[in-house]
Subunit: 216 residues, 2 copies
DNA sequence: AAACAGGGTGAAAAGATTTTCACTTTATTG
DNA sequence: CAATAAAGTGAAAATCTTTTCACCCTGTTT
């Protein structure tokens, strides 16, 4: 059982964790000090040493940002308590669409409210809109889209859907006509593309059921 | 579309990626050099600069381990321990803006990734865009917006912000000029409104930092 | 042939970061 | 009360890291 943390130590610990989440790397002593209002790096140094001896932190001596949380091995899927965590697929996965989930670029937690109607959250992935072709529908390049995986013959005409074409994840309205898949953009500056269902250049991922965007 | 990587650049990129997985932080130039057999940090430096201009990497100048994979948006480390749950404010709260949180119409879980830069998730609430005044910026009526609460004098000019005006939650760009608050829509069909800072008809909630939309 | 991009070497300069030192404050405790 | 632990201040020293400079080598392009 780990030793109890003092209020101040807990603040430091919490800051480090939240910093690591957003920055993908540990903070420097100075950054921690700024966040907690400590002017001397030595003040921070002592806090960290305390956290280390209490077993909350591991430090790598003399290394810049040489911090690591002692218990950060958690499986992202293990802690679903209501909110499922979905794979964010990486753009470099386009060469092997079958292995979308194999090379995740990250994970995002999504409120179940946005997964309404989905039988199994495991059938969903998150991607990022690759262009501005759906600007007219309020979807911008870079937006995170929650996609329920589905083969093309399960998509309804006009349904907002996601496709892997070339290196890009395209969001389009899907139509099936004349034995061909039609990907219709909402913007006139983008042209409608059509593919035969068997065309390997176009991989259908599924329907888009939600959208998230970070604004800063 | 991203430029192709050379063999060497790809090796560097892959090393950085695998290093980050195991170490939970980016490597130093020296560490990269050791892994690839490059004796001069300058050799590594040039590789990184190439990766940056080709869009595979982002660098933070002069910062130790100031690397970040461009294709690595959400948290790859899963330090998760439950995403914060925020209050969704009800539209009927407009009569008593001070008590926004008192009458929640619901709760939503938000991944910490979308709260970047927010010190305390408790300072955030969620509202729903009351009109289409920001259609031009890809925000539609009914969208869920995550708002970091802030008084008007802490908002920067041009910052996407949220206001309670009448019965509606308005999303607008905020400008302060001539001693008045200007709420500027992105759509011509809506007119810019201005208020004196003391005007009780306009209640400033804060800045909009993220957006979520259910699409079915 | 000259010009250029990709990759490197070595060394040095410029910054960033971590550690150490000496001393202070506040609250708690035997 | 004197002793101790937690938390800090300020400054300086010791290390790390990133950046810049000057040059070298090898293909490919012009």
């Amino acid at each position: 059982m780990k030793a109890r943390l003092t209020e101040r130590q807990n603040q430091a610990y919490e800051f480090i964790r939240s910093y690591m989440r957003t920055h993908r790397k540990p903070p420097t002593l100075k950054e921690i000090g700024q966040a907690l209002g400590i002017r001397s790096t030595n003040g921070v140094f002592k806090l960290l040493r305390a956290l280390e001896t209490k077993g909350y932190l591991q430090r790598e001596p003399n290394a810049a940002r040489g911090l690591r949380l002692a218990d950060d091995e958690a499986d992202p899927f293990a802690l679903d308590e209501g909110a499922p965590t979905l794979v964010v697929v990486s753009r470099t996965a386009s060469d092997q669409p079958e292995q979308l989930r194999r090379r995740p670029s990250g994970y995002l937690t999504v409120d179940p409210y946005f997964l309404r109607g989905v039988m199994d959250p495991e059938t969903c992935v998150i991607g990022r809109a690759g262009d501005d072709g759906m600007n007219g529908d309020g979807i911008r390049k870079g937006d995170f889209v929650v996609i329920e995986e589905a083969p093309w013959n399960q998509l309804r005409n006009g349904e907002l859907s996601a496709f892997l074409v070339g290196e890009e994840l395209l969001i389009r309205r899907f139509y099936f006509a004349n034995d061909r898949l039609h990907l219709r953009p909402a913007d006139r500056t983008y042209t409608e593309e059509t593919f035969s269902p068997a065309d390997p250049r176009c991989h259908v991922i599924g329907r888009v059921i939600a959208l998230m965007r970070r604004l800063r």
